[in-house]
C-alpha cells in the first residue's frame, strides 16, 4: 500500500500527480462511488468525481481537461465493493500516464465480468451463509447476529484499498488475470460446496415452524371395545421423512422461480396466499 506511487507495471510518467492525489482518488471511489447512482449512467458521476484529483493535475489545458472529464462521465456500472476498486486503480495508473483511451477500454471491458464476479462472491457465496448464521443467532435473541452482519460488511470494505493497489500496480495485466484466472474458480467452487451444505442444514432448521396441526380421529376396535385414537398427521410425516413440509414448500417456491420464471414478488404473493389459505383451513 505504501508503495502505491511506485508503479511497476505501467510506469506513470506524470510527475505532478502526487501520492496524496492517488490516495484522494482512491478514498473518493471507496466512499462515494454510488452516491449519485442514477438510471441513466449509473456510477458514472461517482467515477468522474473520484478521478478528478488525477485529471486536474494531468491536464493543465482547460479544453484537454474537459475532454478527459467527458470521457470519464460515460456510463459505468459494476460491483462497487468487490471489483470496481481494482478497475479504478488500473484506470488511475492509465490516466496518470496520460493513456486515457486505454483507461476507457479497460473500464468498459472489465465492468461486466467484474460485476459478475463481485456479485457472485457477495450475494451468492458470502452473504447467504453469513445471513443465515446471523439470523439464527438473532432469532435466539443475541445481538451478536446483527454485529456479525455488520462486521462482514466492514470486512468487505477493508479489502478495497488492497484491490485498488493491486489494480494500480499491476495495471491491466493483473486485472485481466483475476477476471479469467483459475484461482478465482477454485475459490468459487469451494464456496459453492460450503454454501450448499450450509443451506441444506439451514433449510430445515430455519423452517422448522412449518408444520401441520391436522389431526384425524380414528375409531379402533380394541378387544371388542370401540376406542378413539387421535392420529397426528405431522407425527406420521416425521416418520416418513423429517421436515417434509418445509422441503416441499421450498421445492414449490424453487419450481415457481426456476420453471415458471416468476419474479420474486409474485412468489412472495403466492406464498402469502398459501399461508393464509392454509391457516384458515387449519392445514398449516
Amino acid at each position: 500500500m505504501a508503495s502505491a506511487a511506485k508503479s511497476v507495471g505501467s510506469t506513470p510518467v506524470s510527475d505532478q500527480v502526487t501520492k496524496k492525489d492517488i490516495q484522494r482518488a482512491m478514498w473518493r471511489h471507496i466512499i462515494t462511488l454510488q452516491w449519485s447512482w442514477n438510471y441513466e449512467r449509473m456510477q458514472a458521476l461517482g467515477w468522474l468525481w473520484s478521478m478528478l484529483p488525477i485529471l486536474t493535475k494531468v491536464h493543465k489545458n482547460p479544453e484537454k481537461l474537459k475532454e478527459a472529464m467527458r470521457r470519464n462521465i460515460n456510463f459505468y456500472n459494476t460491483n462497487p465493493v468487490v471489483g470496481s476498486p481494482a478497475i479504478f486503480g488500473a484506470a488511475v495508473a492509465m490516466e496518470e500516464a496520460n493513456n486515457g483511451e486505454v483507461a476507457d477500454s479497460l473500464k468498459v471491458g472489465l465492468m461486466g465480468p467484474f460485476a459478475g464476479i463481485g456479485d457472485t462472491i457477495m450475494a451468492i457465496l458470502v452473504r447467504p451463509i453469513v445471513a443465515v448464521i446471523a439470523a439464527a443467532w438473532a432469532m435466539s435473541g443475541s445481538v451478536g447476529g446483527a454485529w456479525l452482519m455488520f462486521l462482514v460488511g466492514v470486512a468487505f470494505i477493508a479489502t478495497m484499498p488492497w484491490q485498488f493497489n493491486v489494480g494500480y500496480k499491476q495495471g491491466i495485466n493483473m486485472v485481466h488475470e483475476v477476471a479469467t484466472g483459475g484461482k478465482i474458480n477454485q475459490i468459487t467452487e469451494a464456496a459453492t460446496v460450503m454454501g450448499l451444505i450450509v443451506i441444506g442444514g439451514f433449510v430445515p432448521s430455519i423452517m422448522a415452524g412449518v408444520k401441520t396441526p391436522l389431526k384425524f380421529v380414528r375409531t379402533l376396535d380394541v378387544q371388542g371395545k370401540a376406542t378413539e385414537k387421535v392420529v397426528e398427521v405431522q407425527a406420521v410425516l416425521d416418520q416418513i421423512v423429517p421436515f417434509l413440509l418445509p422441503v416441499a414448500i421450498l421445492g414449490f417456491a424453487y419450481w415457481l422461480i426456476r420453471s415458471r420464471k416468476l419474479s420474486p414478488v409474485w412468489v412472495l404473493l403466492i406464498l402469502t396466499a398459501l399461508a393464509f389459505v392454509g391457516s384458515a383451513l387449519h392445514l398449516l
Binding site: 458521476l45 439470523a135 435473541g141 455488520f150 466492514v154 477454485q186 450448499l196 441444506g200
Partner: protein
C-alpha cells in the same frame, strides 16, 4: 399504549437516511434488515423484537441482490417500521404485528426506490452542464448531493409513519382480526422458502446437489447445531478443492 414523539420519528428518519447513503458507499451493510432492526430496537427500547423482525426479513432476502442496479424490496425501511410498530404493541403478538407492517412496507417501498433512482438522473445532467463550464466545484456538488433523492425517499416515509402515523397504525393493528394475525404468522414461517429458492436458483445444484443433502442429513437426522454445520462445510469445501487438485495432478 402511546405513540412515538417527534424526537423518535426524527432519529429513525435520520437513521434511515444515513443508512441508505452508507449502503451506497462505502457499502456498509447498514441496509441489512438485521442491522436496521437491531438499531431501531435500540432506539425504541426493544432490541429483541428488532432482532427478530430483522432476522425474519433478512431470511426472506437471502437470494435477493440489486443485480445491475435492479430494485428489490426495501427490507431496511421495512425493518425500521416493523420494529417501531412491534415495540409499540409489545407483549404477545408484537412480532406478528410488526411483520404485518414490515412485509407490505418493504414491498411498497420499491416504488420509492425506483423514484429515487430516477430523480438522481437530474444530478448527472447538472454535472454535464458544470463540466462544459469547466466548473469542478459544480461537478463536486452535483455528485455529493446526488444522495438527496436516495436518502429522502427513505427518511420521509419513515418520519411520517413513525410520527404522524403512530395513531392510525395503532388503530389498524388493534382492529386486525385473528385470522389475519395467524395468517401473517404462518406467512413469516413460509417466506424463508422464497429466499432459499432464489439462492438455489443461482447455484449450480445440478452438479453439486449431494452437498445439499449432506447438510440436510446433518441437521434433520444427526441433530448437529447450525454452527457445527458451518464448520463442517468449511472442512468439506477445502477437502473438495484439495482432492480435486490431487486427482488433476496425479
Amino acid at each position: 399504549m402511546e405513540g412515538y414523539g417527534i424526537g423518535t420519528a426524527l432519529v429513525l428518519a435520520i437513521w434511515a437516511y444515513v443508512s441508505i447513503v452508507l449502503v451506497l458507499g462505502p457499502g456498509l451493510w447498514l441496509g441489512e434488515a438485521l442491522v436496521a432492526g437491531a438499531v431501531t430496537g435500540l432506539v425504541v427500547g426493544d432490541v429483541t423484537v428488532g432482532l427478530q423482525i430483522g432476522a425474519t426479513l433478512t431470511l426472506m432476502s437471502l437470494g435477493m441482490w440489486t443485480y445491475g442496479g435492479a430494485t428489490m424490496p426495501d427490507f431496511m425501511t421495512g425493518a425500521i417500521l416493523g420494529t417501531a410498530v412491534a415495540a409499540l404493541k409489545g407483549g404477545d403478538g408484537a412480532l406478528e404485528a410488526g411483520l404485518a407492517i414490515a412485509i407490505p412496507a418493504s414491498i411498497l417501498m420499491t416504488q420509492l426506490d425506483v423514484l429515487g433512482r430516477a430523480v438522481t438522473t437530474v444530478f448527472i445532467h447538472g454535472a454535464d452542464r458544470a463540466l462544459e463550464k469547466g466548473s469542478i466545484k459544480g461537478i463536486t456538488n452535483m455528485h455529493l448531493w446526488g444522495q438527496l433523492p436516495w436518502g429522502l425517499t427513505r427518511a420521509i416515509p419513515v418520519f411520517l409513519a413513525v410520527w404522524l402515523g403512530a395513531g392510525p397504525v395503532q388503530a389498524l393493528i388493534d382492529s386486525m382480526p385473528q385470522w389475519f394475525m395467524t395468517g401473517m404468522t404462518v406467512t413469516g414461517r413460509l417466506l424463508p422458502a422464497l429466499g432459499f429458492a432464489l439462492l438455489l436458483n443461482q447455484l449450480p445444484i445440478k452438479k453439486y446437489w449431494p452437498f445439499l443433502l449432506i447438510g440436510f442429513v446433518m441437521w434433520a437426522y444427526l441433530k448437529v447445531p447450525v454452527t457445527g454445520i458451518a464448520i463442517m462445510a468449511a472442512a468439506v469445501g477445502s477437502l473438495y478443492i484439495a482432492l480435486k487438485g490431487v486427482r488433476a495432478n496425479g
